[in-house]
Amino acid sequence: MLVHLINGISLGSIYAIIALGYTMVYGIAKMLNFAHGDVIMVGGYVSFFAMTKAGLPAPLALLLAIIVCTILGITIERLAYKPLRSATSLAVLITAIGMSYFLQNAALLLWGANPKAFPDMFKNAEAIEFFGAKISPVALVAIFANIVIMVILTLFTTRTKVGKAMRAVSEDKGAATLMGINVNFTISLTFAIGSGLAAIAGVLLCSAYPTLMPTTGSLPGIKAFTAAVFGGIGSIPGAMIGGILLGVIEILARAYISSELADAIVFGVLIVVLIFRPTGLLGKQIHEKV
């Protein structure tokens, strides 16, 4: 039981890191960036080639993946989403889905459809005994990384002036720009942070489940999006709670009910939560003005 719980929290931590990207971009740009899951996949491939072809050590491979994904995120925003900033949300949504397929197919073209075996980054580390349960090092690293990221992001958005500017932009872009805040920079920064986090999530995900292919990012991406909605989209602690709950439910369902039904149960729980709390667990209740 304990080992499943910890594995669940670990998987959930990876979902939470991905969900942060969805939730921050939604909070600032009011759009669902469905290409986010595929940025994870790109992060996975970059670190894979850095380790296998270039022979870089794991931390450098991770750093390279973060840099590439950050640049990719900013580029996607500039090229695909920025021209549509005043368009209807449906147009932006479709563009995001298109961008997702574009990235998947570009990966297919560049790197082929064959799954790649992701090298074990932690081959020197032993599994750790914890109250009789064996915990893999990847699981511990994922949980630890999630906590660190969450603390830094919370401090960033509440304590720094750029973070406060982000919250101002998320509330009212027009008023923020008239107060001297550079909205384009703020939005780019949000995409940069989200995509950098996606790279970290990609490396963790591929370490935990070491098959890498062009569609690797899409299901975890959808689940992390679910986690963001589950926790209340736009909320940073919501993404963390949503991610972890989703991971735990998935692993427990897989272990005790049925591994085929696990995903169905995950999405079933989402539906039930949204019936009772339409804005998610930590989402703000919106009172419509009549």
Binding site: T160, A165, T177, I181
Partner: protein, 280 residues
Amino acid sequence: MSKSPEVKLVNVPSPNFVPEKDLGKPLVLEAAHLGIDFGGLVAVDEFNIGIGATEICGLIGPNGAGKTTIFNLLTKVYEPTRGTIMLGGKDTHNLTPSQVNQMGIARTFQNIRLFDKLTVEENVKIGLHNHIGYHTVAGIFRLPNYWKEEKKAHEKALELLDIFGMADLANVTADSLPYGAQRRLEIVRALATGPKLLLLDEPAAGMNPSETEELMNNIRKIRDEFQIAVLLIEHDMNLVMGICESIVVLNFGRIIAKGTPSQIQGNPQVIEAYLGTHRG
């Protein structure tokens, strides 16, 4: 080398005027031949204005005359179709709202646009954004520079809030303030950006006569203390006639009269367009 013939230069009448006290100081704002079309509709045309360094100028006109459109042009929410806007002697062509804000123009909104979920103090600090000088890394790790700058920003925010006696409300969220206080907070937030020209869009809307009286004193106080110019849109004629040194009247996107309050009150065109009902 042949010398070009000596020519005599003469003064030409400028379309603009400023109060005598501001003579000799550079104009804070000068707009010439300003205009904007929306599709085929000419919303504003031939708008000329010069605002002195410490002038309080009123922009009045019937509903739909184009007053807020002019604010949107001056703050570069819209790029003008025609004409030029000079802020402190610099052309603002193709600049963004955040850039002209940093050049010294700040505004409030007709329909209040505060950052509702942020506290009163945080709202003011957003205005101070470009005046807080610490690096993001310093902010995350709380380096000494962060504390110093954050303390400075905190003190500055409270000082600005104190103009309207709102320092004790610093920690409540903006959306929980009463209406009048939200209007005042918008002015404080705009002031925090350090403007040379403050644009107020119907600052007295929804205020009772005693609140309006207090607001008039505060606008004067802000002008005197910060030595800035104010351009305000207002329908409350007591306020306009009470504090404005000059008034520009707009109708159907064009200036129909300019002058001192007493000149405007006696102008038959203005009476016809705007005050007509008063004289029966």
